[in-house]
Symmetry: C2
Subunit: 354 residues, 2 copies
């Protein structure tokens, strides 16, 4: 078995550990933000961590009403710009905590007046030392080059950050998330069987919307780095503005299809690509009855209903369990293709870029 | 000849017209911003216009020091979030001015306290009516579905907006830009010859960094919508964090290679992909001597030196002339492939998404 698959399976325990261990620090942060509410939030990251940042970009803006931006590291690392970060919260996300450019953004942001938070898997990393506050992802050492348990750990840290900022994210609901991930893991055999179909797939399009836009980026990245599939990632809205022209019968469209406000646009997208002769594979859960029983599409259906009766969008918690079948599919497909998902060509675990 | 190619050729005149006609309004905006400087800038757009916004994301933050964010329209259109936009400048960019979600973002932003600017090609559009200030792109009616002259017109409008915000962008230098675009147009015959090589290309990777990150998005979009090529777009930094694993001999890497701070990272990227057996095609200009004479890569070399002796980054003005060879290559390649670049399958000129 690949380390990647092993680490995918460790996720419920890792998430439970992260939530439990970091709660005290996050409560402290909550008190602090109650007094000094940031006026703008900037998220800095690369690679898989940048996908967690993309998730944060949606979650934090939707749930706190504070404008959020994804940092463009080169603005600091190459152009040496000075940006006005008074009243800004700058959050750097990095598995290793040794991503050179992400760390430089954080350093420069402190100089420019920002309050800084680091989200990392490594307590003694450079990032953990630079940031004023650290939310530690307690996933344990990640050995596969393809990040999985640190990605979901980063999502959990972002939920906790939202809680600290006073968002309507409840700790009781976060405590249920490891179980929803465990539920997703039960689909491994089914997903392994489904993976065979894509043995000779060279291209794929991955689509998600809103809170699961980041999930599309992350699934595409896993397919690119472990299966060498040319996977393009889009929001369903952007996809209709041009790229849909390239869809053809020979490659499938993978979609995240939770119940809720994004479903009508995902449903329209499925109809459009079926009309072009392409096939689809969706990840959904039982609460989206229409998706789960849809004709003409293949579906991976999570058993756990993620519908919540609360003030938050109904798919708020879906990105965490939904990425798990995507990870499993990438790991199994790499094996089907005779590739080693733990050691993709041309990649190392820590990438240093400026 | 395709309408797309015809409209590509109209760009110098369109740019000159836009700059001349909009100057007065932009000076008024400059007086206004001198009194009320925005604390954060949000750019909202879709499709090609979103690539112009991506350029603005870099230019405005580098040149003004104000934090800039790209809007995620679904936060308003699907989630109905209320975001605190006090002291924010929200800029919507749309060729037609009838992009439903972009307009909704602008409306909601006004309600949330933002000052609003619209950049559009249509004076009587909904966008022009909603925005408090309009910078009109005077490109003339665009008939090809593939946007070209409105994209470069939007870039010009973004430069003018930077000027209005007090950035070190000089009007004298902006006045030189139509000529640099005219210089790029002279390469049409050479580019048409180069296009033949890619007749059977199904995949490509397009790379740009910093100010030309947006150029990579726009070239990729043109290849996707007019040639049905599966074109992935990356910054050279992101590319090394995973996606480089999928590069193989059977598809090329296209890069924007201006002189200046991004060149070392682009040069490294070229060496890395050559090491993997892939070939490269670069767009550069004579001032980047190393790139223009590089062994083992194909190069489209603009004659105009774009080096400026000023306080601004030396490749500040490259995105405008550099996109032109990319547009020409897409238009010529579509013809080589027997496709009609003016009417891509599954696309209409105005895309309405929510």
């Amino acid at each position: 078995m690949s380390k990647m698959l092993d680490e995918i399976r460790q996720q419920p325990a890792a998430l439970e550990r992260t939530l439990r261990s970091e709660l005290k620090g996050v409560e402290k942060l909550r008190t602090l933000f109650a007094k000094n509410r940031p006026k703008v939030i900037i998220l800095a990251a690369r690679g898989t961590s940048d996908n967690a940042a993309q998730f944060g970009r949606y979650l934090l803006e939707i749930a706190t009403g504070i404008p959020v931006s994804l940092a463009a590291p080169s603005i600091f690392t190459l152009y040496g710009a000075r940006v006005d970060y008074k009243d800004a919260l700058v959050v750097a996300i990095s598995q290793s905590g040794e991503s050179t450019d992400t760390n430089l953004v954080l350093e420069r942001a402190r100089e420019c007046g920002a309050f800084t938070v680091g989200i990392t898997n490594e307590a003694s990393s450079t990032l953990a030392k630079i940031a004023e506050h650290v939310i530690l992802v307690r996933a344990g050492r990640e050995q596969s080059v393809a990040a999985t348990k640190t990605y979901t750990g980063q999502l959990m840290a972002v939920y906790m950050l939202a809680y600290a900022l006073g968002a309507p994210v409840s700790l009781d609901e976060l405590r249920l998330l490891p179980d929803t991930v465990a539920g997703a893991l039960k689909l491994e055999t089914e997903i392994r069987e489904k993976a065979g179909r894509y043995r000779y797939m060279e291209n794929a399009v991955v689509v998600g919307r809103g809170l699961n836009y980041a999930s599309a980026y992350e699934w595409a990245l896993k397919l690119m780095e472990t299966c060498y599939v040319v996977a393009e990632r889009f929001s369903s809205a952007d996809f209709l503005h041009g790229p849909i022209a390239m869809v053809e019968q020979s490659f499938p469209v993978f979609l995240f299809a939770p119940a809720g406000v994004t479903w009508p646009s995902i449903r329209e997208m499925i109809a459009r690509v079926h009309g072009l002769g392409a096939e689809t594979l969706i990840i959904t859960d039982k609460s989206n009855k229409e998706a789960a029983s849809m004709k003409g599409t293949r579906a991976i259906v999570l058993a756990t209903s993620l519908h919540r009766k609360s003030a938050v969008p109904e798919e708020l918690y879906t990105p965490l369990p939904y990425i798990v079948p995507a990870q499993i599919l990438a790991a199994c497909l790499a094996e089907e293709k005779g590739l080693n998902p733990d050691q993709p060509r041309a990649l190392e675990k820590v990438t240093r870029t400026m």
